[in-house]
Symmetry: C2
Subunit: 344 residues, 2 copies
Amino acid sequence: MIRLTLALDAMGGDFGPAVTVPAALQALAYHPQLELLLVGSPAAINPLLVKTDSVLLERLTVVPAESVIASDAKPSQAIRASRGTSMRIMLELIKDGKAQACVSAGNTGALMGLAKMLIKPLNGIERPALMTVLPHRQQGKTVVLDLGANVECDGAMLAQFAIMGAVMAEEIVGVNNPRVALLNIGEEETKGLDNIHQAAALLRSIPSINYIGYLEANELLTGKTDVLVCDGFVGNVTLKTMEGVIRLFLSLLKSSGDGGRQGWLMKLIKRWVKKRLARQFGHLNPDQYNGACLLGLRGTVVKSHGAANQRAFAVAIEQAMQAVERQIPERIAARLDAVLPKSD
Amino acid sequence: MIRLTLALDAMGGDFGPAVTVPAALQALAYHPQLELLLVGSPAAINPLLVKTDSVLLERLTVVPAESVIASDAKPSQAIRASRGTSMRIMLELIKDGKAQACVSAGNTGALMGLAKMLIKPLNGIERPALMTVLPHRQQGKTVVLDLGANVECDGAMLAQFAIMGAVMAEEIVGVNNPRVALLNIGEEETKGLDNIHQAAALLRSIPSINYIGYLEANELLTGKTDVLVCDGFVGNVTLKTMEGVIRLFLSLLKSSGDGGRQGWLMKLIKRWVKKRLARQFGHLNPDQYNGACLLGLRGTVVKSHGAANQRAFAVAIEQAMQAVERQIPERIAARLDAVLPKSD
């Protein structure tokens, strides 16, 4: 069994150790090959470990960190004052080769900046991008990026994202010759913004990329593409719109028709039908695909949703494990090397 | 009874007269004060009127137009060659005072460009914006703009959209002192793009606007704001993401659990429960809020979704009627006059 060591920012996110520690223990219980370095305040973490089976604890080490980067801190200031924070120490464990990947639910901007500073981008990558894998109606999956690491992107950056996304679709989703599309407000050539037109021209010139053109946002979950590329502002808005609508539906489904006068039998039957429906929609629940990979670095960094619950944070840990097992950074580096123009 | 005359582009949209003519007849039947000018090819329209009650036909006039602007035509070229098209003749009817408002499901870019050229923007408006009214979970409604008329916007344009949106929320939704928010990728001041920061500064300086700050896209349907403002690229992506997810849910709801071995009673009960659920989600069905108003012009122009069915196109006609009855262009002009800095 090949050992796999991850570092977790135990203090990040809206709930800190109350979510990250139980999720860490859950992951250790499921995956016997996993070792975890929990970075954070021992005073906050240790009480949550008291009742834990000592066999699990053998694969868990608490790495002390004095402070935390606040979720609402300005990234540039947070990075300047980052020494001794749980997020920075977590990234240093990667840099020093003590962990193979890491997960944080903390400040996205600070994570992005610190990761770029400490772990460094791959050759040919200007800026890393946040990527996630969304389920779609045809039971398949779509790789979507950037989800918010870069609010403004030029055409070259979008093309780099597309190349990284194609590697993810091949390695993580298991699609051969994955279809790559650019998110736009129409399918016609002339629609949209200049950076998108430039990216389209670049992608058309790379033979190993199966570029299929523009797609509109209503195709997000229809499975028409394996990789969908956009700038970080648009990606963030798209993902959050989708999550908002899905959560609204799930909550309506839960609450609908509970009031009113009805016989107990009808109530029971309705509850049963709704439960079945909720299960069928379950694969669309945002908790199921929590964890955005920061792609384009010389190591694996996964960003969990700040509001993640235990189950969602555990999913993010699994994303990080998968990225290590599939050697994502190495494969992206190899692909970039093959497709990008050489600078002499 | 005050007469109300609308011009309809009978040829626009994916289905042309097959959808627009029945929708027009439906609107005439519902609204005795309505008169319609159906602009398009008489050869295509007249056969669809054969079986119509002659009382309805008294309020319907077919205005002949030789040609149609294709949905996928490049707007600049389409506008140059627009003489004699159904869309242009429809707009000329507004310009000449023969109709009070108009509806088209045709090419968005061409409609925007021609409307600006023929109907002219209001004083203080650089570019008109596409606006719609979305339902939210608290049974209220949110005004959202721009939905795609302007792919790039500076801060001043976003602020103008916000002012127009506030008038819509007051007059169409009936909200006093409506809350106005800017769509962004975080609620913190420093998040997002420069044009959004500039718009925020402008809106804070206008005392009559109830500016509440940034909102993220997962709040789109939660009712936290009455007006949500963004650029046309982001607005288009947001709206289409939402529509895609809602249509996916409605189709899953329809098809879920239909297979499998079940007794006929259970099948009947399940069908009944699902029908009730579908009705409860019905107010979120995109057909129910079809029709985006092009705000900021000296007249009312409504853009219907190109793929609109009869019901959806009829909803767009109602939007146009409402805009005339509430005197939207006049009220926006008055509000702009009150809040915008005077140029001496």
